[in-house]
């Protein structure tokens, strides 16, 4: 069977699995729909968080990103994992004890309805920017491996997500994500292990990493590139720090991750899920830099100094040249390809970072069955993240806006129906973005992290750790943090007063942490200048700090 046949087979098998799980885990009430009935075991919840978190970008692009940015790529590796320490220690146990459905729920109950509305707007904005990229990712993987158009791929993805998310809500999504994590991690590790064995004789990529790293450093220096391990080639010291911090605090402020800690049975299980989540994520994140190094080494080793005629005979070179992600131009006409940092002499003119993971198995000459599996892994990563984000969009509309603010007298059946309708709407919007992608998805993701760090993280942590924090402080803090971060980034990207303008050379991706600090300062100042929160609110804070004791939503009535 050829690659196409294997890919079809893998996709059919995995998609059937997701649909089978969806049918078995239909949601019966709003608790099932928004928080999976609050009864997901810690290990399963951790795997679901991991799949939720690792998107098409993590699976397909990250190894390549790190391979091309060298040490600068570490900001993503550290930022997107370090945030879980903040989540585990500062948010997860307390939000579980609070025990409701959404992030705006906590903001609304702890502060005020005004704060809830600001939180809803942030949650929807952050989730929409993310989901746009995911649906596109589904379409791209389909088109590359299954010879359909990107749009048909997006439609197939929409149909599958629509089926399990509308039917099962959080319950269906959680259990499909457990399956999706298994698929994506197997698809990621098999090629990594095979290549590591092939190149270094050591099957563990993390150990084979060092040997190839040294070789790559030498090769890059020979060809005139910056040494692969040189520390400030991409970002300077200050920006390495600020971007890493922004990604960490942004991660801890992303609503689709935070809501996952409502779905466990107890505070203890919530803490454990945070551990399992980072454990599962770290398997992929520590393998990615190794794949980046192996793959870059392999490609340069094959291409550099080879004759163009010979290269054109290699299967994967031919295949990836057809997609436009790899292109050669024999500029000096000597029939030999040279890879250099100089635009004028470089003859590997296109070397797309996404090739690193997707072409990896072919470059290493692995069997076709594995090439197909990698495609299924990419789809699993994109679908699982899309569905988690869609749930946040759906719950923000149906639960926070319609039920909490407009129609608090609604019946259980009505609320469940609204949730499903909002989910359907969300899938349509996501699909629309997948088919008509905004040209600036990459830029907007920096925006999403910056805004999450600037808005949610400070008000959530102060809400738990400082009883004196009040509604006026929270609203003022969020307003200042959001405005500052948004103005800085929008001006930097598109120009309001001066495109590309920076304050002390701070990269737009690193401004979120500055905005978060401003948010905190304003929150403290305004809270101290205004009246302390009511005794009732201070009791709520006291209550979330301790596990057990009339807990688990008994008071709030979240879990029926």
């Amino acid at each position: 069977m050829d690659t196409f046949g294997w890919t079809v087979l893998w996709v059919v098998i995995t998609f059937s699995l997701y649909i089978g799980i969806a049918i078995r885990s239909r949601a019966k009430n709003t608790s099932d729909y928004y928080v999976a009935g609050g009864g997901v075991p810690a290990v399963a919840n951790g795997a679901a968080v991991a799949a939720d978190w690792m998107s098409a970008a993590s699976f397909i692009s990250m190894a390549g990103l790190v391979a091309f940015m060298g040490y600068g790529g570490s900001v993503f590796l550290m930022g997107w994992t370090g945030g879980y320490v903040l989540l585990a220690l500062l948010l997860a146990p307390y939000l579980r004890k609070f025990g409701k459905y959404t992030v705006p729920d906590f903001v609304g109950d702890r502060y005020s309805d005004t704060a809830r509305v600001v939180a809803v707007v942030c949650a929807i904005f952050v989730s929409l920017t993310y989901v746009a990229g995911q649906m596109r990712g589904v379409g791209v993987v389909f088109s590359r491996f299954l010879e359909v158009s990107v749009n048909v791929g997006v439609f197939i993805g929409m149909a599958v997500v629509l089926f399990y998310a509308v039917l099962g809500g959080m319950k269906g999504i959680t259990w499909t994500q457990v399956a999706q994590y298994s698929v994506l991690i197997v698809a990621y590790l098999i090629p990594a292990i095979a290549i590591s064995t092939d190149l270094t004789g050591n099957p563990i990529p993390h150990l084979g990493f060092g040997e190839i790293l040294t070789k790559l450093d030498l090769i890059q220096a020979d060809l005139g590139f910056a040494e692969y391990t040189s520390e400030f080639a991409t970002f300077d010291r200050k920006n390495l720090f600020l971007i890493t911090a922004t990604l960490m605090f942004g991660t801890a402020g992303l609503p689709h991750v935070i809501v996952r800690f409502y779905t466990t049975r107890t505070v203890k299980e919530a803490r454990r899920s945070a551990f399992w989540a980072l454990f599962f994520i770290s398997i992929l994140y520590t393998t990615a830099p190794a794949i980046g190094v192996f793959s870059k080494y392999n490609v340069i080793d094959t291409v550099e100094g080879a004759s163009l005629a010979e290269l054109e005979q290699i299967d994967w070179v031919k295949g990836w040249s057809d997609t436009g992600l790899l292109a050669f131009d024999d500029k000096n006409g000597d029939g030999i390809i040279n890879y250099t940092p100089d635009e004028a002499t470089n003859e590997m003119v296109t070397f797309d970072r996404d090739i690193m993971v997707l072409a990896n198995p072919e470059v290493a000459g692995l069997p076709k069955i594995i090439v197909g599996l990698v495609a299924a892994g990419g789809l699993a990563a994109a679908l699982s993240t899309a569905s988690g984000l869609l749930l946040v969009i759906s719950s923000s509309i149906a639960h926070d806006l319609v039920y909490k603010l407009a129609r608090p007298d609604a019946t259980e059946a009505q609320r469940l129906l609204w949730g499903r309708l909002a989910m359907g709407l969300g899938v349509m919007v996501a699909g629309w973005f997948g088919i008509n992608p905004p040209g600036f998805v990459g830029e907007v993701v920096a925006l999403a992290f910056g805004l999450a760090a600037a808005s949610f993280f400070p008000i959530l942590t102060f809400g738990i750790f400082w009883k004196r924090a009040n509604a006026a402080g929270a609203v003022a803090g969020m307003a200042v943090g959001l405005t500052f971060a948004a103005l800085y980034m929008i001006n930097n990207i598109w120009g309001i007063w001066e495109k590309g303008w920076t304050l002390w050379g701070i990269n737009k991706s690193g401004i979120g942490i500055v905005a978060a600090v401003l948010n905190g300062i304003v929150l403290v100042a305004v809270s101290l200048m205004t009246k302390p929160p009511s005794q009732e609110l201070q009791d709520l804070v006291e209550d979330v700090r301790y596990p057990g004791e009339q807990s688990i939503g008994a008071k709030s009535g979240a879990i029926a």
């Binding site: 994992t81 980072l278 596990p547």
Partner: protein, 99 residues
């Protein structure tokens, strides 16, 4: 829990958090960003140490920090006689009898 116990429990929790978050900041934001160039002078089996921390070591540290936190907090809960699962089961039984 009595009010004294509660404040003792909370203070222990805050102390543990402070220690772990300090390690987190030193490793994740210090060693791998601010001081990475100095650490790169140290070689770890051929890999510059700062580089290795940024791409591997810091992530392992984060996992270990959460693991330690989970373990300590479970011990703390136990020493204060907190058993959420038992409490939940009891509530469920009580509710079942009432209805």
């Amino acid at each position: 829990m009595t009010p004294t116990d509660r404040s003792k429990y909370w203070r222990t929790n805050l102390r543990l958090m402070t220690v772990l978050l300090t390690i987190w900041a030193v490793v994740g934001l210090g060693m791998s960003t601010l001081f990475v160039d100095s650490l790169n002078n140290i070689s770890l089996g051929g890999i510059p140490f700062g580089f290795w921390m940024g791409q591997q070591g810091s992530i392992f540290t984060f996992v270990a920090l959460i693991a330690f936190y989970v373990w300590r907090m479970e011990k703390l809960d136990e020493s204060y006689g907190i058993d959420e699962a038992a409490e939940l089961d009891a509530t469920r039984v009580a509710a079942g009898e009432a209805s």
